[in-house]
């Protein structure tokens, strides 16, 4: 065999080229030399042609992105450069539903009420407001302007809110406006959208009627679904509102002046913005859009972006660099959601209690997850929720839970008896494909096997498939999480109402429903917070969930930039108060 057949099976040809032809090759050095020279000539041609092609291609690509030379901090132009996790999918505020768009919207829009640097409610477009049992009144300032210079009026809110509940808009977050009178009926298509309980008394005064008492309405209007949209501008866009930088009209501290999809954005200061308490840097350059944490860390190291998120494997590296590492809670609580549907093993209280007492969330967080910014979850209500005067957690401490294997085994035996089982079948644990979920799932699988002799079958699914199974009730336990919509205990408190669609385990108890109804409508603050205390206790006593962890961020910020905020409600990262400060260097 002289010639190798087949496409490049390594070694096969090498073997075929054995001794018998060695002589021939050695005698042919002359040929090799000449051919080698010819090859070198071709190589030079090839490199030249490649260089020419690269040059031509760069001309073709010249206008599709940033020039890549911006540094993280540009003192001369008072600008900073950042990276976004993903292309904001929806910048039409009425239809937006995701965190990435939320970050952008928080910089380029402003609602009636806004959040200040310390995450407290502060006047936005509204100068002052009043919330009553049956409705609310907002008095708008006269110097809040759109980016074309026109004043933001009460009509802009009326138009925006009617649009959200209009069935034709098909806004996913329309339910945020259900507390407004007729909101739900309009969304169902039973009433015309003009019947919505909101009215512009004049340009400066907005009158809202409630469908039920909504004491937390001030916190609701700070949410982006309530942002204003101006009718004439919206209508002039032919359905492309929000699709590009010039298809939006802004009223926030910044406006988007350039937007190359999936590549870069440029936010410039809105010259018409009324307040000088935010928007300190003149330009925010979103030069990179990627969700690769390693790539962002490399960009940070190269001084190309001002801050980045650190995952636990990056921490040693970050410490070695002597960076100042910050932490913040992201507001989300993760827990086992049990399937309470009849017929499921997890619908048995004693079974759930057995699982609850076999573990302690601090072990999960400190031994398995090892994320510095995560906290062990001990309640449905996370650590940052406000109570009457201070933190809810101080006023109503969560039930004192400790692992107790004896109790756990006792409950398990009871469950076995009640269910009439000889052996427990495998328990299906539905999990997402995020690292933290998968680590938790395997951790609990081992734990319950060792401590209770239970077999857990982990069902890992990607995003939509997991949701499908959650909605269909195709699980015993699902690793679920809940992030806050507004800064009020109710955003967690009503999760296990029998009518809440988010209650995917279909937990149903009259006591819980009664407590939630009370929490929703009680105006008295003390009484209301006490109700949340009772809900917290009931969640524990009934083992509705098994709390796992509260998620946090570990991140580094360029020392020349101050005032970047990460917080639990509102945008996950806020550059509105960022300023360049070189004095500390």
């Amino acid at each position: 065999m002289l010639s190798p057949k087949g496409w490049g099976i390594l070694g096969a040809d090498g073997g075929a080229m054995s001794d018998s032809h060695k002589a021939l090759i050695d005698h042919d050095d002359n040929f090799t030399r000449s051919a080698g020279k010819q090859l070198a000539v071709y190589a030079v041609y090839a490199v030249l042609i490649l260089a020419a092609v690269v040059y031509l291609l760069s001309l073709a690509a010249g206008h599709t992105g940033n020039n890549g030379n911006d540094m993280a901090v540009d003192i001369e132009n008072n600008a900073i450069t950042i990276a976004l996790r993903e292309e904001p999918p929806q910048l039409d505020p009425g239809r937006s539903t995701d965190a990435s768009s939320g970050v952008v919207l928080a910089h380029v829009f402003e609602g009636l009420i806004n959040y200040d640097e310390e995450a407290q409610l502060t006047p936005g477009v509204a100068e002052r407001w009043e919330i009553r049992e049956d409705g609310a009144t907002f008095w708008l300032r006269d110097n809040a302007r759109w980016s074309d210079g026109k004043v933001v009026t009460a009509q802009d809110f009326v138009f925006a809110w009617r649009r959200v509940v209009d069935p034709a808009t098909a806004a996913e977050y329309a339910f945020f406006l259900y507390p407004i009178k007729n909101g739900e009926e309009i969304n169902r298509g039973e009433l015309p959208k003009e019947m919505l309980g909101v009215r512009a008394v004049n340009d400066r005064q907005l009158e809202v009627e409630f469908s039920r008492p909504t004491p937390y309405f001030d916190k609701l209007v700070a949410w982006y679904t309530y942002l204003p949209v101006r009718e004439d501008f919206y209508n002039s866009r032919n359905g492309r509102f929000g699709a590009d930088a010039d298809e939006l009209l802004y009223n926030g501290p910044y406006m988007i002046t350039e937007w190359v999809h999936s590549s870069s954005m440029l936010w410039k200061k809105n010259p018409y913005y009324w307040s000088d308490a935010r928007g300190f840097v003149d330009e925010i350059r979103t030069a990179y859009i990627t969700n690769d944490d390693n790539a962002k860390l490399n960009l940070f190291k190269d001084s190309k972006i001002v801050e980045t998120h650190l995952s636990s494997p990056m921490l040693p590296d970050a410490m070695a660099e002597k960076w100042q590492i910050d932490r913040a809670m992201d507001g989300t609580v993760f827990f086992f959601e049990f399937n309470h549907r009849p017929g499921r093993i997890t619908s048995n209280l004693n079974f759930r209690k057995a699982l609850l007492f076999a573990q302690e969330s601090s072990e999960l967080v400190y031994k398995a997850l090892k994320e510095a910014s995560y906290l062990p979850a001990v309640s449905l209500f996370p650590v940052w929720i406000e109570g009457v005067n201070g933190k809810f957690r101080e006023e109503y401490p969560p039930p004192n839970h400790h692992m107790d294997l004896e109790k756990a085994r006792h409950y398990l035996a009871l469950a076995k008896e009640e269910l009439g089982l000889d052996e427990f079948p495998p328990i299906v644990m539905l999990s997402g494909d995020q690292p933290a979920s998968m680590v938790s799932a395997t951790y609990y699988q081992e734990l319950f096997r060792d401590r209770l002799g239970l077999e857990i079958r982990i069902d890992t699914q990607i995003f939509k498939q997991r949701l499908q199974k959650m909605t269909a009730g195709d699980f015993d336990i699902v690793l679920a999480g809940w992030g806050p919509d507004y800064d009020d205990a109710l955003t967690y408190g009503d999760l296990f109402a029998s009518w809440n669609l988010q209650n995917r385990g279909r937990y149903k108890s009259d006591e819980m429903d009664a407590l939630i109804k009370k929490a929703q409508t009680t105006l008295d603050k003390v009484d209301r917070v006490a109700t949340f205390g009772k809900i917290q206790q009931l969640v524990y006593d009934d083992a509705v969930i098994l709390p796992m962890y509260e998620r946090g961020w570990t991140y580094v910020v360029n020392p020349q930039v101050k005032g970047i905020r990460r917080r639990v409600v509102g945008p996950e990262v806020d550059y509105n108060f960022a300023r360049i400060d070189v004095s500390s260097d």
């Binding site: 010819q38 190589a43 291609l57 010249g62 599709t64 699709a243």
Partner: protein, 310 residues
């Protein structure tokens, strides 16, 4: 010739229709749908959304509406990026992938042919061993490792030199393309090197080369005219599918280097079950692949005198 091209185009069209149909029904059979979200939607809101996207109609009706739409070149609106038409997404992001892909394929082809010839020429000697070792590395190390390592390399070089030698990520200038294209083309280059090497070795011992040698044809001429030209044919054959594979397979490189290419959409759409984008990118890439294969067949006719297209 024209008859051949026409026939192939019709076959291609049927292939694309088949791809579209298979994808459509496979996609609708995957559990879940694009309207599911972390936050449960009320029946009202869901009904409104279904009506908006036409998902409330029977599947077969949806299929015919869809076929009609793509026949008119309309791929619909993305579910994930709700304000963008799939046509716009392809129009804006495919050129980026294509530029990166063309560059990667060029680097891969030129490199593969040169290294392959070199190893064949110096077979069983040091250059051969070194290059073939690198080839094994290039084929077996996954691209996300190479991408991450090369990015770290850029950062380190920038820090050592104290200047912006090369950008770490992003898109827009010639400098942004070099490293990503190299990383993207690397495994193809390794594959082509191997292919070129074995193809060359086959020809080195063929009768016509021996005849040429004994006639006294100058070695450089034998190498260029007889060996290289013949050995390069299999490389050209796989080049067409390689272009398509590289242009669609840029997902990892696009994420790591923050490049706004279509490969990201192609992969993320499946995760998001973004029906319209899945269909749009699949049909588009399917058509692209079919076209590339036809193109290679035609080119083949020019290079190899034994192949006659008629």
């Amino acid at each position: 010739m024209w008859w051949f091209i026409g026939k192939r185009l019709i076959q291609g069209l049927i292939t694309v229709w088949f791809i579209a149909t298979a994808t459509f029904f496979a996609m609708h059979n995957v559990p879940g749908d694009p309207l599911l979200n972390d936050r449960a939607t009320t029946p009202i809101i869901r009904a409104n959304l279904e009506a908006k996207y036409g998902l409330d109609k029977p599947l077969l009706t949806q299929y015919f509406i869809y076929l009609n739409n793509i026949a008119h070149g309309d791929f619909g609106i993305s579910f994930a990026q709700e304000n963008r038409e799939v046509n716009d997404i392809i129009r804006e992001h495919f050129p980026v992938s294509a530029i990166l892909g063309v560059l990667a394929v060029l680097i891969a082809a030129v490199g593969g042919i040169l290294w392959g010839s070199l190893t064949a020429l110096y077979r069983n000697r040091m250059p051969d061993y070194i290059i073939m070792f690198l080839v094994i590395l290039g084929i077996s190390v996954p691209s996300f490792v190479i991408a991450a390592l090369s990015q770290l390399g850029i950062v380190t070089i920038n820090q050592l030199l104290g200047i912006n030698f090369l950008p770490v990520a992003g898109w827009g200038t010639i400098y942004h393309m070099l490293v990503p294209a190299l990383v993207l083309g690397l495994s193809t280059m390794a594959y082509l090197t191997r292919l070129m090497r074995s193809s060359m070795l086959e020809i080195v011992y063929s009768d016509f080369v021996r005849t040429a040698k004994s006639k006294g044809v100058p070695p450089a001429r034998i190498f260029a005219r007889h060996q290289l030209r013949n050995a390069v044919l299999p490389v050209i054959t796989v080049l067409g599918p390689s272009i398509a594979a590289i242009t669609t397979g840029g997902f990892v490189v696009e994420i790591v280097f923050a490049i706004p290419g279509l490969g990201r959409f192609f992969v993320e759409a499946v995760q998001q079950l973004d029906y319209t984008v899945i269909m749009g990118t699949t049909v588009f890439y399917g058509a692209f692949l079919v076209f590339m294969v036809i193109l290679v067949d035609v080119i083949y006719g020019f290079i190899d005198p034994r192949v006659r297209l008629s």
